[in-house]
Symmetry: C2
Subunit: 423 residues, 2 copies
């Protein structure tokens, strides 16, 4: 083992120990103290706006020099509006119900034992994310509200911005009398530190990776810690033969084009072949008018000459861009088979006026979110009434779908007796 690796292990174990100690304090912290920390952090963010923006300018200059793409630069950039949104986000999380302490169930056994299941924090949460600096505030705050300590590993591009934002959270924690170690960050740009983090199973209870497919794959391969996996969103909208044509067009255009960079945007349109000649022309027209590139199977290509032939790869691609793939299917069963073969189990939708067909689809599709007659862009914690989310989990364990404060908790059993001994 090289000297560098040893150092990271020690560095990370140090962070882990502090996080675990902070988590013990947080687990018993009052709702009021946690909310105060969030409100005071928001004030510190507003007060520190100039410092945050000047630190962000350093990151932006370095990023431009490195030749980062426009989309990456946009994710990294902060301005007064974004700083205010960050402060507002912290205040919003303060208004959410505290999930910790809720009694989830209670039974009394015939032998008199009273068994409660009580919601408790998870413990220590590791968050690995890419360049968006606001994740530092959002993720740190969500973990805190649920009584967890967080160890953040932000993208190296947002190094200075994240540090400035974290200072504000520490200010808030201090004012509320909570340990600053409740939110820590890994203070090195070296990617090798992530490897050391992923082996910290004695200290970190769950890792939340937020980023592209390659980041998530690498973390999945390396991690010795369980993950809330946010896989890519290869979302489908299926237009059934019994769909209302106008509704189908509106939903598909919204599902694809409202925002193309979000994980809930539709990447593949499936349509019953019997109504394709009828309904597809208007949908394709609408998409192309909005600047969307359309790639289709042969029947789709035959409908509009502007449609390019889709390759096999297209059915498994998350474009996150103004591109859509279109495939005709024989019926709802065929649509289901296509989705099961190609979906990333994030969000898939059917558009139909036939309630029986809708139920067939809802039952058969094994995705975190299955929709009827709605835009897949509603796949979002805020739209689900959760207030805020740390991502959408496409895994089936613990958290499935949007991960909000409630999903950042665990539970334990409390058993109260009067001297019972097991026969």
């Amino acid at each position: 083992m090289s000297k560098t690796q040893i150092d990271y292990r020690e560095l990370l174990e140090g962070l882990g120990q502090k996080a675990k100690a902070a988590a013990r304090e947080l687990a018993e912290a009052s709702t009021d103290a946690k909310n105060q920390a969030l409100i005071k952090s928001a004030e510190a963010v507003r007060r520190g706006q100039n410092h945050i923006l000047s630190e962000n300018a350093k990151d932006m200059a370095a990023a431009e020099e490195k030749g980062l793409s426009g989309a990456m630069l946009d994710r990294l950039a902060l301005d007064e509006g974004r700083v205010e949104a960050m402060a507002k986000g912290l205040e919003d999380i303060a208004t959410l119900d505290d999930p910790v302490g809720t009694i989830l169930s209670e039974i009394e056994r015939p032998n008199g034992l009273v068994i409660q299941r009580k919601r408790v924090p998870l413990g220590v949460i590791g968050i690995i994310y890419e360049s968006r600096p606001n994740v530092t505030a959002d993720a740190g705050a969500l973990c805190l509200k649920a009584g967890n300590a967080a160890i953040l590993r932000g993208g190296s591009e947002s190094f200075y911005s994240s540090a400035a934002i974290l200072e504000c959270l520490h200010e808030g924690l201090k004012q509320a009398g909570l340990p600053e170690d409740a939110v820590q960050r890994i203070r090195t740009r070296d990617r090798a530190a992530v490897g050391a983090m992923l082996r910290l199973s004695d200290y970190i209870d769950v890792i939340v990776p937020r980023g592209g497919k390659s980041l998530v794959s690498r973390i999945t391969e390396e991690s010795k810690i369980p993950l809330f996996k946010h896989l890519e969103g290869i979302c489908h909208s299926y237009v059934d033969k019994d769909a209302d044509p106008e509704m189908a067009k509106n939903i598909v255009l919204n599902a694809k084009m409202r925002r193309t960079g979000v994980c809930g945007s539709t990447e593949t349109l499936l349509i019953d072949q019997s109504i394709a000649d009828n309904m597809l022309p208007a949908i394709i027209d609408g998409l192309i008018d909005l600047g969307c590139e359309v790639r289709g199977d042969s029947q789709t290509c035959a409908i509009d000459s502007r449609v390019q032939k889709a390759s096999d790869e297209d059915w498994d691609t998350e474009y996150l861009d103004s591109i859509i793939s279109v495939c005709t299917v024989v019926d709802v069963k065929d649509a289901i088979e296509h989705i099961i073969a190609h979906s990333s189990n994030h969000t898939d939708a059917i558009i139909t006026e036939n309630p029986e067909t809708a139920e067939v689809f809802l039952n058969a599709i094994d995705s975190a979110i299955v929709m009827v007659n709605a835009s897949t862009q509603y796949a979002d914690g805020g739209e689900f009434g959760m207030g805020a989310e740390i991502g959408i989990s496409t895994g089936k364990l613990h958290a499935r779908g949007p991960v909000g404060v409630e999903q950042l908790t665990s539970s334990k059993y409390l058993v109260r007796g009067t001297g019972q001994c097991r026969p």
Copy 2:
């Protein structure tokens, strides 16, 4: 990669594909069909008793030749009583409520979207266990009841017994019109097959390891699939200064000696030093009378000359035997620190008449099960009213504590709209 490894990968992928196809059928199977499969399996077990026993005799002969320990042989051995218990166990699981399909929550959003969270099966569950052949029936049946397909990997010692039991499950599935692939087993004794199984993340949703510490450690290190980890049970009973002496003695004796081989048995007794001289003599007497070896810290040794000096290792040892370690502590806080340092987060108990001290303990101990005035031997799914369990999860994600049919499920969101597009 050697030829052998390639073969296992192919073998396992074959099992995985069949399991996934079966899981799709099971997810939509009726409660009645699943229950019929269980009841018919029980009948087949009773009818096949002679065959099961003669196959078990083959396993026993091989195990004796290999020189397995008496405890191992006892776990492996079947007789008429154990076969009947297995059949009864299948029928009991048939009587449990079907967890699948329950609507866990429902909200209507201001935009009219109706969002339900519905309980669904997990999918495919891999179970790796040691020599007990009855796990083949129990685990297969629990997975089936929750609508999951199972891939079983039993200990090589129970090779013939498990095969005979699985035939009975297949008979039951067939009679109920359900796919036999719902429960499959890996038909090789070679341990390398486990390695291939642990990489099958495209097909297996969760792995449940049931076995000793070394089995679980190895699986944790190798697995690319999430685990319901059943770690060892280093359980503590703490006798507080406000404990009732008679209750304390009864509970400690039961917690340690009722059955020493179960994970919920107490391995370490903690006792407030101010009452140790008073209460310990009777407890130690009682333990020694029951044949228990007592190892203690210096204060404990000073109380009874039959107590041996405990080594540092004792505080971290799951004896699963008639041995207990005894440590005196300064107060409840000191007891909590000892438990946090040494507990495996399975089950820990306090014995006290002081409700405030009890609450301090219940809040601070971060274990799956925390008890007041009861024997840690109650840590059991049946005793928790779950009917049956596949193990006790000491992890914090998804399932914490006893893992019954409900814990073998996931959920998905169903969103029903009337054409909503996101602004």
